[in-house]
Amino acid sequence: MSLDENVRQEITELIGSSDVVLFMKGNRRQPQCGFSATVVGILDAMLPEYTTVDVLSAPHIREGIKTFSSWPTIPQLYVKGEFVGGCDIIQEMYGSGELFETLGLEPVETARPRIEITPSALRALSAAAAEHGGAGRELHLSVDAEFQSHLSIAPRGRADVEAITDGLMLLLDPISASRADGITIDVSDTPNGQAFRVDNPNAPRVRPMSVRDLATLVESGEPFELLDVRTPEERAIAAIPGAVLLNESEAARIESLPRDTMLVLHCHHGGRSQQAAEQFVALGFSQVWNVVGGIDAWSQEIDSDVPRY
């Protein structure tokens, strides 16, 4: 296949524009396909910065890069001008530790996560390992970007981290290990028989915040975003000092912030803000709080100058 000289030139410049260039669908914040999201997840865990090229917004690049790389699929990763591979190969290289070398990084020593296993789960896991394991195949636990856990039996990866609970060893790749500390594994009955149930305290969720804790947080001077999800009319009656009305432009500003920004949301009594908070969690924000009792609790417990309504 011949490639238009201008497109070739453009791709060559893109690849040379930075040490690590990922051709993907969507961008780093909003990947538009699962394979692209997987590679972004791996690179995010390893690098503070890298360049992405959204092929969906440039159809000539989308077709051109396939010919340029002799590679039929997106995403495609280039490091220092060299084609490294697509999603499968990146995952494999990450699991084996080779990707650290390719990116010129020292392999990180990942802390062993503490994992709690109930006695019945321990028996079931030991039995599964004995039945399907052996010959270098071992029990693995992985935690994906949505914090869903997966158990499997597979060969050990070079970068795998061991978590040992009551004599049972689980292997985790480094990204999974960073998401797994404090996990509890139990067995529960389902309509289809017994299944493992994993409770992961690291999974992002909306956390409750009392108005007292909010007052302490405000006083501490720590940076965070305090968002008021009520209507402008309610706000005219009463407002918590420092809170910002979550209108469309404010929502757009928040959405562009780093996903570990601390967000605290309040409304009148805590219902509407809970819903809004869950939407921010769904967008990938990991530090999201809902003020229990809303501004009404603030008026009663913290500042009686804020009128109740």
Binding site: M1, K66, T67, S69, S70, W71, P72, F83, V84, I89
Partner: protein
């Protein structure tokens, strides 16, 4: 009864043969097996001494490069290669 239109695509056996021929042109010494999967999907095994000393990604690039013309354009005969195994004899 609902009206259903079935648009027949290219015969998967013919496309498999096109894949085989295209790879053979680039890697004349290779042993090549192509199996059709779902519509437009294929599995490919290639065994060739030319792969010796090359990392897996370079081996696969040789094969993908050989069949690129069957995978590009708006409605290519090959939509996806579900599995590509490159082996050294």
């Amino acid at each position: 009864m609902a009206l259903q239109i079935i648009n027949a695509g290219p015969n998967p056996i013919d496309v498999a043969e096109q894949i085989r021929l295209a790879i053979a042109e680039t890697l004349p010494q290779a042993t090549i097996a192509v199996r059709p999967g779902g519509p437009g999907h294929f599995e490919i095994d290639v065994t060739d001494a030319a792969f010796a000393g090359k990392p897996r990604v370079r081996q696969q690039q040789l094969v993908y490069g050989a069949i690129a013309h069957l995978m590009s354009g708006t409605n290519p005969p090959v939509h996806a290669v579900d599995r590509l195994d490159c082996r050294i004899p």
